[in-house]
């Protein structure tokens, strides 16, 4: 490139590209680097969830709400083309204990700006006629949405390129240049690049990138499988999941957790998630996990029993020990910023996280405080 960029972004996933778009809009010249191609990591391995329903009140919920609206603004701004849809969520509870927990959650969520309608049998089965008749309680979340994350990321990237930003694929970062406690650029297999700001948006692989700079981020992979059915007539009309899902997301157990998240797609297929287990970057398919997911999906929708499974895929969510994303400047190296660790919510949280980080870099006040997401929260842990 002719002139040095104002900022280098490591990672062309939804987080890196959203951040780059935000900085581009602020007038900065960006260079995005990825060892693969656009959205070739975790971004391409999920369902494209933009959820507010699965967040307990707290900073992540505030971020999710802002992000959800930002997605719809972005859709207008770049002319769509990424299948954004206000799909709406239906969360169901199957046990008395579950109903109680769900009702407490929705009460708290409503106080924090979420629209959540508690519904009973008739309304529930009107929304989802194929739902098991034994399920009588649920909540309807009109703000839950969905997009096609590969297309969203690719469309944002073209918008950045049209405005002078650059992207180099197949560029593996092998070193981060630091002088006197300040970042000055990166070394890659495709050459050296200088910039006063470097953003680590490497998702599940953000830990090793931080390490290159002599810093520390405890981000680990949390594996998940998704089942995909053959195309069918419309059977499932919202994003439907079991209230246990919220507890699973928040769990710190490294063992397998599963709770069915079931939805129909525009292409006619039905997607079934979600499993969570911390087994490193283990490849291959664990059919026990697939079996449990199928069982749980059939418990919600008995009609699925006769629907054929076409394929299954897996991804690695970037997991931070406290389940919160890492958004902010590195505590030890000035100019090195992190935007990673969004676990399974990266698509939904991307535009808000990008705005928060960009405001931080530009020294502007933002729509919320980023303190809860600060990378410095791990420094104490490191000292131990």
């Amino acid at each position: 490139m002719k002139n040095n960029p104002d900022a280098i972004i490591i990672g062309a996933g939804v987080i890196g590209v959203s951040t780059a778009l935000e900085l581009t809009s602020a007038g900065l010249k960006v260079l995005i680097l990825d060892r693969g191609s656009v959205a070739s990591g975790t971004t391409s391995a999920g369902e494209g969830n933009i959820l507010v329903s699965d967040k307990e009140p707290g900073p992540e919920l505030d971020l999710a709400l802002r992000s959800r609206n930002a997605w719809f603004e972005l859709d207008e701004a770049i002319g769509g083309g990424f299948e954004l849809e206000a799909k709406c969520g239906v969360v169901v509870a199957r046990t008395e204990l579950g109903v109680g927990k769900l009702r407490r959650l929705t009460t708290a969520q409503r106080q924090h700006g979420i629209t959540a309608h508690d519904i009973c049998s008739d309304e529930l089965h009107e929304l989802e006629p194929n739902l098991s008749p034994s399920i009588e309680y649920g909540t309807y979340y009109p703000q839950d949405a969905q997009c096609q994350p590969m297309l969203a990321t690719a469309r944002m990237l073209s918008s950045i390129k049209n405005r002078g930003g650059e992207f180099i694929s197949g560029a593996t970062v092998t070193g981060i240049l630091v002088q006197g406690g300040r970042v000055s650029g990166v070394v890659t297999n495709r050459g050296r690049f200088s910039a006063p700001v470097v953003i680590n948006a490497a998702g599940t692989w953000a830990g090793p990138i931080a390490e290159l700079a002599g810093s520390y981020l405890p981000i680990a992979p949390r594996r998940g499988f998704i089942l995909v059915s053959v195309p069918t007539r419309p059977l499932i009309f919202h994003k439907v999941y079991d209230a246990d899902y919220v507890a699973n997301v928040a769990s710190n157990n490294s063992d397998l957790q599963t709770s069915a998240v079931v939805e129909g797609t525009k292409s006619g297929t039905i997607l079934i998630g979600a499993s969570r287990e911390r087994v490193g970057f283990r490849t291959g398919i664990d059919f026990t996990v697939l079996r449990i997911l199928a069982q749980q999906a059939i418990e919600l929708f008995p009609i699925l029993s006769d629907i054929q499974l076409l394929r299954a895929y897996r991804g690695f969510r970037p997991y931070a020990p406290d389940h919160l994303p890492v958004i902010g400047e590195d505590p030890g190296i000035r100019g090195l910023w992190h935007n990673a660790g969004h676990e399974g919510a990266g698509i939904g949280l991307a535009p808000g996280s990008a705005q928060l980080l960009s405001d931080g870099i530009l020294g502007k006040s933002s729509f919320m405080s980023s303190d809860a997401f600060s990378p410095s929260r791990f420094t104490a842990e490191l000292a131990k």
Binding site: M150, S267, S305
Partner: protein
């Protein structure tokens, strides 16, 4: 129900049959699994009616002898109509799952064969356009002639037996169009001569075609298909092509069936789930890499995986038989793999290599595509859409194109279009191997997946 065998052979074609036979003769307890109703695979597909089968095949004797030897061997248990839908390694054992059984073994021989390679062209989704293998399967498996006026086209030695078979049984072949040039075809003869059996076979087909006044044209290809008012195939555009497959001139040919194949694609669907090493062969196809004993390369020392036949590279039945024999003996830990057997394999490998040079598929086929040509028929993704993914959205490989356009994501899971998409992107080895991996080999219902006891 869990079924255990010392050695499991997956696929009952020439390679699998011979592997099972040799392993059993060396004393092993063998399970042979095939999805078909009868053993024999695509090569020895048959109706079960002896008089019909001998008429349909030029050398069914060899096949029926081998099938009988396997069926009567008390050391071999045969599982027919057994479709394996997934394979994985569980607790240091290889587990294969069918709808009704779970098979468990420490030693697996992969003999899953190959299927026809298709390349996209305008109109290839019109009813009446089929693969040469489909025309052959109809004839050999059911005694049915695919249509009234049949064009056989594409490239490879396989076109001749398909055309000759149809012609011999009263079907009207309106043309055999071989894309390869006659000169390169003749060059291959020097190798063909070293395999006298093959040359007699080849001349036999040509004699049949001559006798029935069927025209065999070299350097020609079907580059477009056209439907009539009823939506069915009515004619094809035949092009005189150069060596890079670029069109020089065209004419039209009336037909109701066009049986078109461009060689074969090895079926390596299960290799990814077993984590065995694969590579891209000299002809661009993804194959399972094997050592001198047909053993596949993988990291678990407690299990042994072998591969034989087309899944290790397209080579025809003689090579498949030799590889199957070696794999069977090696899996049974028989020290007596003879030099003669290895020599036989080497000769067949050379033959296969020469053939692949005689019948290349050149990249010029991409010039036959129009914006509206479907690349992926399952998801109806056009060439235009794939190009936009590359030019506007930054897809640089088949995986990226798939995730952005859904090409290769439909019912066939990229079996038909995957290779062509990789070629359009001039994909690298990793991308080609990933695109050929299908952990769910065939669809099963979620109810079946949910069954308790599934490993």
């Amino acid at each position: 129900m869990i079924i255990n065998h010392q050695i499991l052979v997956l696929g009952g074609g020439p390679a699998g049959l011979n592997a099972a036979k040799y392993a059993a003769n060396a004393g092993a307890d063998v399970g042979l699994i095939d999805s078909g109703v009868r053993l024999g695979g695509q090569y020895w597909r048959h109706t079960g009616d002896i008089s019909v089968d001998h008429a349909m095949h030029h050398n069914f004797d060899q096949g029926s002898l081998l099938i009988d030897a396997v069926l009567t061997n008390p050391q071999i248990k045969v599982y027919l109509e057994c479709q394996i839908w997934s394979v994985s390694i569980v607790n240091d054992s290889i587990v294969l799952r069918s709808l009704f059984q779970i098979f468990q073994t420490q030693k697996l021989i992969i003999a899953t064969g190959a299927y026809d390679r298709s390349i996209p062209f305008p109109g290839w989704d019109i009813p009446g356009v089929i693969t040469a293998g489909a025309a052959q399967a109809l004839l050999k498996g059911s005694g049915v002639i695919a249509g009234k006026n049949i064009v056989v086209a594409g490239t490879g030695p396989f076109l001749l037996p398909v055309a000759a078979g149809i012609s011999r049984h009263g079907g009207n072949i309106v043309g055999v169009l071989e894309a390869a040039y006659k000169t390169s075809w003749v060059k291959g003869i020097t190798t063909l001569i070293r395999s006298p059996f093959k040359i007699v076979e080849g001349f036999g087909y040509i004699k049949t075609l001559r006798k029935n006044k069927v025209e065999l044209r070299f350097g020609h290809a079907v580059t477009a298909a056209h439907a009539g008012a009823d939506g069915l195939l009515e004619s094809v555009t035949v092009a005189n092509i150069d060596r890079n497959f670029n069109v020089k001139s065209t004419y039209s040919l009336k037909c109701d069936v066009a049986a078109i194949s461009w060689g074969f694609t090895p079926d390596t669907s299960i290799a990814g789930a077993l984590d065995v090493r694969q590579r891209v062969n000299h002809d661009g196809s993804v194959i399972i890499e094997v050592d001198d004993d047909q053993r596949a390369i993988q990291s678990n020392a407690l299990i042994e995986i072998y591969a034989a036949g087309e899944s290790t590279g397209i080579g025809g039945s003689e090579l498949a038989l030799a590889e199957g024999a070696i794999a069977g003996l090696a899996a049974a830990h028989d020290p007596g793999i003879s030099n003669q057997l290895r020599k036989l394999r080497r000769r067949a490998q050379k033959f296969a290599h020469t053939l692949s040079k005689v019948y290349p598929v050149a990249s010029g086929w991409q010039s036959w595509l129009t914006s509206e040509t479907l690349i992926c028929r399952c998801e109806e993704v056009t060439y235009q859409t794939v190009r936009e993914a590359a030019e506007e959205l930054g897809a640089i490989d088949a995986r990226g194109a798939k995730l952005m356009t859904r090409c290769g994501m439909g019912m066939c899971q990229g079996r038909i279009c995957g290779r062509s998409i990789s070629d359009l992107f001039d994909g690298n080895q990793v991308d080609r191997i990933q695109f050929a991996s299908r952990p769910i080999i065939t669809p099963i219902t979620l109810g079946e997946l949910a069954q308790e006891g599934l490993l």
